[in-house]
């Protein structure tokens, strides 16, 4: 037994025991990280939750301050056609865009995984859309889809397709989702490519010996092996795109009507009008949606043993 361990517990510097000093040092070292989370996540969340139960617009409730309305804001949300439409389009946007990004991303990853000349250059070029800032993408495509001056309607006219894009509600939705898919598919492809490269070629060799064709190899080897990455990436894209704002706002302004208005834009509009209480309640709805999606993600994580 060493001298130190034989020494009875004694009061150390500043009257703290050694064990207490350990706690203090640990807490002090963790305070910056904890403070960051508290001030940038916990406090805003609590403040938002508080405001969501109040009617508060400084321009009209300045004298009284926030007025408690219980679930009144949420009741208003249920009757607000713009919020209802924005939730509908946001979910459509997220589900369709993520599905296409994953599907196309897997296809592109497959192509990039194949051996061919200039593969390195191709992998770099594929990433270009992802590297362009979203603001530039949105404004660029707004012009490209423009029915008077845009190249996309013009090209389609040449093949006999006369379509109005950004002034037709359905087509505007298609246009916005298409641009989101174009922009983020390369990122998904890159992540899935890393997964594909981790699959042993021996598995494919063995499958070939057993008579597996390309599709059965994809079905029974590739997809199961990259499923954890697919789930992780899907979750990331879903949660990230639930808060989408810049693309639809800059491309269509949320129109025509409010057919391409997303939840984040509605929150922006309300907070811009100083309707902090109502904006906070819409924000809480978004939090609830993210929480549900997160729960689904956790379930899938466990089901496919992502942690192993």
């Amino acid at each position: 037994m060493s001298t130190l361990s034989r020494t009875p517990a004694r009061k150390s510097f500043k009257g703290l025991t050694f064990r207490q000093r350990t706690y203090v040092v640990a807490v002090i070292l963790l305070i910056p990280a904890l403070a960051l989370r508290v001030f940038t996540a916990f406090y805003p969340f609590v403040q938002t939750a508080y405001l969501s139960l109040h009617r508060f617009n400084p321009a009209f409730d300045g004298a009284t301050g926030p007025v408690f309305v219980g679930l009144g804001n949420f009741q208003r949300i249920a009757n607000d056609p713009v919020v209802r439409a924005s939730i509908g389009f946001t979910l459509t946007f997220v589900v369709v865009a993520t599905f296409l990004q994953i599907t196309l991303g897997l296809a592109v990853a497959h192509l990039l995984d194949a051996p061919f000349r200039f593969r390195g250059l191709s992998r770099t070029l594929v990433l270009v859309p992802w590297a362009i800032p979203m603001v530039i993408v949105a404004l660029g495509f707004r012009w490209m889809f423009d029915d008077q001056f845009g190249m996309i309607p013009d090209l389609l006219r040449h093949v006999g397709l006369e379509m109005k894009w950004l002034i037709n509600p359905t087509n505007a939705k298609i246009a916005v989702i298409s641009v989101a898919v174009w922009k983020s598919t390369p990122f998904v492809a890159l992540v899935l490519l890393a997964g594909l490269q981790g699959i042993s070629q021996d598995l494919y060799e063995a499958a070939r010996v057993d008579g597996a064709n390309w599709f059965t190899s994809l079905r029974y080897i590739t997809i199961p092996m990259v499923m954890p990455i697919i789930i992780t990436t899907s979750m990331f894209m879903v949660v990230w795109q639930l808060a989408v704002f810049d693309l639809p706002f800059l491309m269509t302004g949320g129109g025509p009507g409010f057919s391409t208005t997303v939840i984040a834009q509605k929150i922006y509009l309300e907070s811009n009008s100083l309707n902090y209480g109502y904006a906070a309640s819409i924000g809480m709805v978004l939090v609830a949606i993210v929480a549900i999606v997160g729960a689904i993600g956790l379930y899938l994580f466990r089901r496919f043993d992502v942690s192993e």
């Binding site: 706690y23 807490v27 321009a59 009209f60 707004r142 109005k164 129109g255 509009l269 907070s271």
Partner: protein, 440 residues
Amino acid sequence: MDSKQKKTLFSRGMTRRTFLKGSAGSIAAALAAATPGRFLTQGIYAPALIQNNKTVVLAIQEFAHDAIKAVLPDFEASTGLTVQLEGGPASGTDMLTKYGPSFASGESAVDVISDADDDSPTFIRAGYIEPLTDIIPQETWDDFPESFGSQIEKFHSFDGQRYRIPHEFAIGYFFTRKDWLDSKGLKSPATWEELVNVGKELADPANGVWGTTDALIKPALLYVYVAYLTAQSGGDVFAFDEATAEALQFLYDMIYTHKIFPEDALNQDYTAQNQLYMSDKVAVMRQWPFFQSVAEGDTAWFAPEKLAIELPPAGAAGSKAWWGGWGFSVPKFAPNMDGAKELIKYLTSVEIAPKLAEGQSWFIMPRKSILDAFAGKENAVLTAMGAYAAAGVPAARPFHARVAEAQTVVDDAASQFLTNQLSLADTIKYGQEQIAALGT
């Protein structure tokens, strides 16, 4: 220290409960250490601004900076203050985005703002703006025409105090291709019916040539044109009354029935609208005064007969166009309040306002001092301003205490109707319900 000693030290690891207790206690202590009053009123993020009382910061759109710089030397020499100009937002919506959070937290990085009609009533009612009633001399207020009275009371005042002073007068002018009209022996359309007839005469949709157009993209621009037509039909666009319905139906008919107005205008901003006109694709259109400068700037295209300003076609209520504009305000949290008040008094004085107008057409207004300064000078916008005033064209800008939100309702309602998502009856019902929900 050997490995056994290390094990002895760290095997006494703290429990999760102890760790959380310690962390929570530390954070609580940090919060308690913050100044309580400031924390409670402004939130935890309330950076103290470094105040320099020798500097006055004025935020205004950048194209106006040169004109302002030209009049500053006298002010700076007489007061000992230095004026720093910052680029300001170009729309009321952007004003709310940029300054709303700052004002809400009781801070302002600028001393004077150039503020729009769309957001100013909101800032004023929120208590973010300093009253100017005792700052601006009566001589300056008397320099404005009497017709400004109701507009100043609605958009610049609250509870008997004035909070903003206009420095810009914007009205939608009706620009016409006089050369086209003359070549066909036509006159500028004086009524809605004539607008349709002239449009049909000159439009050639197959080749992308239109009788008229406007910028109808959301946000805000669609509202501008619907409110313009509603002023002519004699309604209150925020009431979604019968005259509003008439205006919406007229716009719909121009697009889909008469085909003199491009459907694509629903996705068109002012740049695209101007480009269409200057590409010789539009016969007549409403546009703000800045288009005069834009068109004159395209020297290869411009000719006076391509840009005649005529009175707007009359609806049931006559030949009307609503007017609005920007004005100077002082945020209640201005770091240099005294300097700000001096500057605003100086810039709006009867001596300086004409100099600003000479330096930048944006500052041209029907103020007596400005009209006197321009007497005998050739200026297309000023000439049109006089003609419009004489014909009683200027109509009050539609007012709502929640003006930005009310405009969004009009945008949404009109956009749904014009893209065939709602019938006219449902559009009017939707608009009335949404405006009623705003209250106030």
